[in-house]
Amino acid sequence: MPVTFHIPGVLREFTAGRSKVEIAQSPTTLADALSALWALYPGVRDRVITEQGQVREHINIFIGDEHVRYTGGLASPVSSGSEISIVPAVSGG
């Protein structure tokens, strides 16, 4: 089974309107999966990570229900069938 990204509304402009993007390759880490996502939809990259390759401060990424902050960040393992969600944080003013 492929890895699936859930794309928030604000980024669908860059995924041809798709709310779900399946990655056909078999990435083993979050970094690999994200690279595959950028290759398909380059505009998503700069919205999610900084030019230095760090996930933006107020953007949260979950693999399943787990926040990747607690599972190894970009090195977090992904496996066949993983569902990855990109979600903006709840904060602001």
């Binding site: 604000v10 980024l11 402009e13 860059f14 995924t15 041809a16 290759a39 398909l40 939809y41 380059p42 505009g43 990259r45 700069d46 919205r47 999610v48 900084t50 030019e51 230095q52 760090q54 933006r56 401060e57 107020h58 953007i59 903006p88 944080a89 602001g92």
Partner: protein, 701 residues
């Protein structure tokens, strides 16, 4: 000489021959490695002093450890033979690879970045190549560019520079001139001294040749080539060469060294910026899936006509575009654009017949520079952030605080001041942006400290009289000035008091809130500090206190009158603890005598419980006579004055916090810009009550 041993090098094979000597493949019997060995011919036009100089420079070059520089291992002499031992580089010369049609733009950019990086390293160590050309650059099998003969090129004979591997050339000997002459900068042909910028010219020639397979300056004779170099503009390079690459080449090939890039690092940064842009634009799904522009259908747009006046209003939750006629009494509101995103910088670019609105947007999803050519109906939405710090800086863009147009004679130039504090520039109308390394690499930078709003470069002032001179203001770093087009910068804060450090008058570190200058008196600057109002009469060499009779010398705003160089406007706030209008009275103050005295302008402004704040860029003046002024407040009110501040009226309220106000006039129906009102004679001083004796609120010092 095959089989002979020179020092501890056994000569294996002859691999090339030039006027100054022969190049051999040799084997280092001590370190057991293959090397290239050049034996300089006896009597190769080298007098004893030239020989010494060659030795000296070769030794200096041997200190250059860089992946794109052919390393010199050793320089020696045996039996009167001078020899140079260097890394054996195997590959194809860039000259051979570029022949006829040139290389793909990606390859030109890749090699260009490497060559510029090599030059940057050498120049930092005071070594100039003097003979950079495609024949001196080898591309190895793994795609690495190696620059040969660093520091070995010498002025010999009749004044032609050449490398030891090249045929000896003189002006008279035109048959071999083409080996070197086409890469020579105009200043060399004029007989002036070559410096590192002559290498940057040569780099421009190399890039042109690599991109097109042709030389930019050609001719049948040495005279024709020289003449072309001195006088002609090279034929433009169109697709597939990206406009950004062409812009870099053009700047390298500017006739006057002072107008070129001043450092190889700048060329490297500019090429990297084009590289990033190119990667995105050629992405496999780029066109299909991601529009470059966002159309806004559900937002109300102002119906802008030629001749209209515009107010561009940036807020912490989006941008607005207001439209009026020359009466400036009724305003139609368009927006909000980018709702929810903070818009700290806006600008209108009416140069070269365009009407482009620039805007910076910042949100969780990053910071972008965007533009609209139809007054907000559609906006660019670039896939890749146009302004980005290079990977080797380790720094990420947080916000863009200021967008400034370049000088009128450079309609494709713009600057952005950003957070963390840095300056970016574009020379191709925003297609590609590069970090101004001269400021970013300043040794003070690690010691700049963020102010309340972050560590921001928020103000950029161009000296209209001197295109090499520019000022920036950094909070909290102070004022910095360049007099060489951005290559080097000096702190210019003498006389500005700093309340946040033990040393009250440090060289830098002042929290400058705004600086302003008038085009007619560019040597005079005004400054609103985090506590303190100042003026400099000598190009920021030193500053004098001009807080004569204002209710507080704390504030953010410093607005220059567009025509009267003695007149500036400020909006004092009570203190850094309570950043609101003093006593709850919203008052703009104006001086018309360079700060000798200030007068309050309050008619029409709320004078009771008006705890308002006007932030540094939330005020603008127009170009009419009398001058119109507009400012926005943190509470979301917008006030305007059609008569230089004498009377005010509320234009709008209920906006999010206003952080930026800019004024623009749209090109009129005749195709020309609405002419600025005739220049007023020096504005007569009105009889206003002198405030010089009233108390100025200041912190205890």
């Amino acid at each position: 000489m095959i089989g002979q041993v020179l020092g501890h090098y056994r000569i294996v094979a002859n691999i090339g021959e030039g006027g100054m000597g022969v190049v051999y493949r040799a084997y280092d019997e001590v370190l057991h490695r293959d090397v290239a060995l050049k034996v300089v011919k006896k009597g190769a036009s080298l007098d004893p002093s030239s020989s010494q100089r060659l030795l000296h420079e070769a030794r200096a070059s041997s200190s250059l450890a860089h992946p794109n520089i052919c390393t010199i291992h050793e320089v020696g002499e045996t039996d009167g033979d001078l020899y140079i031992v260097m890394e054996l580089v195997e590959g194809k010369s860039l000259a051979a690879m570029s022949a006829a049609v040139g290389l793909a733009p990606e390859s030109v950019l890749r090699y260009g970045v490497q060559i510029a990086s090599a030059l940057a390293r050498a120049h930092d160590r005071g070594i100039v190549h003097r003979d950079l050309k495609t024949a001196n650059i080898v591309i190895t099998a793994d795609g690495q560019a190696k620059v040969l003969d660093f520091g070995l090129a010498k002025q010999v004979g009749n004044g032609i520079f050449e490398g030891p591997t090249q045929s000896f050339a003189t002006v008279e000997n035109t048959s071999s001139v083409s080996g070197t002459l086409p890469y020579m900068a105009p200043e060399i042909l004029r007989g002036e001294a070559a410096d590192h910028r002559s290498d940057l010219w040569a780099l421009g020639v190399v890039l042109y040749e690599a991109a097109s397979g042709r030389l930019p300056f050609e001719g049948r004779t040495g005279f024709e080539i020289s003449s072309a170099i001195m006088r002609e503009i090279p034929n433009p390079l169109g697709p597939p060469v990206p406009p950004g690459l062409w812009a870099v080449i053009q700047r390298c090939l500017t006739k006057e060294p002072i107008q070129r890039y001043q450092r190889a690092g700048e060329v490297q940064a500019a090429l990297e910026a084009v590289q990033s842009a190119a990667i995105v634009s050629t992405g496999p799904t780029a066109d299909a899936s991601a529009p470059r522009a966002t159309m806004l259908h559900s937002v109300k747009h102002a119906q802008v006509k030629k001749g209209d006046h515009l107010l561009l209003v940036g807020t912490t939750k989006g941008a607005f575009i207001l439209r009026s006629n020359a009466q400036r009494s009724r305003w139609e509101v368009g927006g909000p654009y980018f709702h929810g995103q903070s818009v700290y910088a806006m600008a209108f670019d009416g140069r070269a017949g365009q009407h482009r609105i620039w805007v910076s947007t910042a949100s969780y999803w990053g910071t972008l520079l965007r533009s609209s050519d139809d007054f907000g109906k559609s906006w660019t939405n670039p896939q890749q952030a146009p302004i980005r710090f290079p990977p080797n800086t380790g720094v990420s863009l947080k916000n863009i605080w200021q967008i400034v147009l370049g000088r009128p004679e450079e309609p494709n130039v713009l600057y952005c001041g950003v957070e963390p504090a840095a300056l970016f520039e574009t020379r191709d109308s925003g297609e590609t942006w590069s970090l101004v390394r001269g400021l970013f690499d300043h040794p003070h930078r690690p010691r700049w400290m963020p102010g309340n709003g972050g560590l921001a470069l928020h103000t950029i002032l161009l000296d209209p009289a001197d295109n090499q001179r520019m000022y920036v203001a950094i909070s909290a770093g102070g004022v910095y000035r360049t007099t060489d087009g951005g290559s080097s910068w000096t702190a210019q804060n003498q006389g500005i008091r700093c309340t946040s450090t033990p040393d009250k008058y440090p060289e830098f570190g002042q929290c400058v809130h705004k600086i302003a200058l008038h085009p007619d008196r560019p040597e005079r600057l005004f400054l609103q500090n985090h506590w303190g109002l100042y003026r400099s009469d000598n190009g920021a060499e030193n500053w004098v206190d001009i807080a004569n009779g204002v209710p507080s010398d704390f504030g953010f705003v410093m607005l220059m009158h567009p025509r009267n160089p003695d007149c500036v406007y400020i909006v004092p706030v009570e203190s850094d603890q309570f950043r609101c209008a003093c006593d709850g009275r919203l008052r703009v103050y104006r001086t018309r005598n360079n700060g000798a005295s200030w007068e309050p302008l309050v008619r029409g402004l709320p004078q009771k419980r008006a705890y308002e704040t006007v932030l540094r860029d939330a005020i603008a003046a127009d170009s009419l006579d009398p001058v119109g002024i507009c400012f926005g407040t943190r509470s979301g009110q917008l006030f305007g004055s059609p008569d230089e501040g004498r009377t005010w009226q509320k234009i709008l309220d209920g906006l999010p916090s206003v952080v930026c106000v800019r004024h623009a006039v749209v090109e009129d129906a005749s195709g020309g810009l609405v002419p600025a009102a005739p220049k007023a004679a020096s504005t007569p001083l009105r009889h206003t009550k002198s405030l010089s004796k009233s108390k100025t609120r200041r912190p205890k010092r």
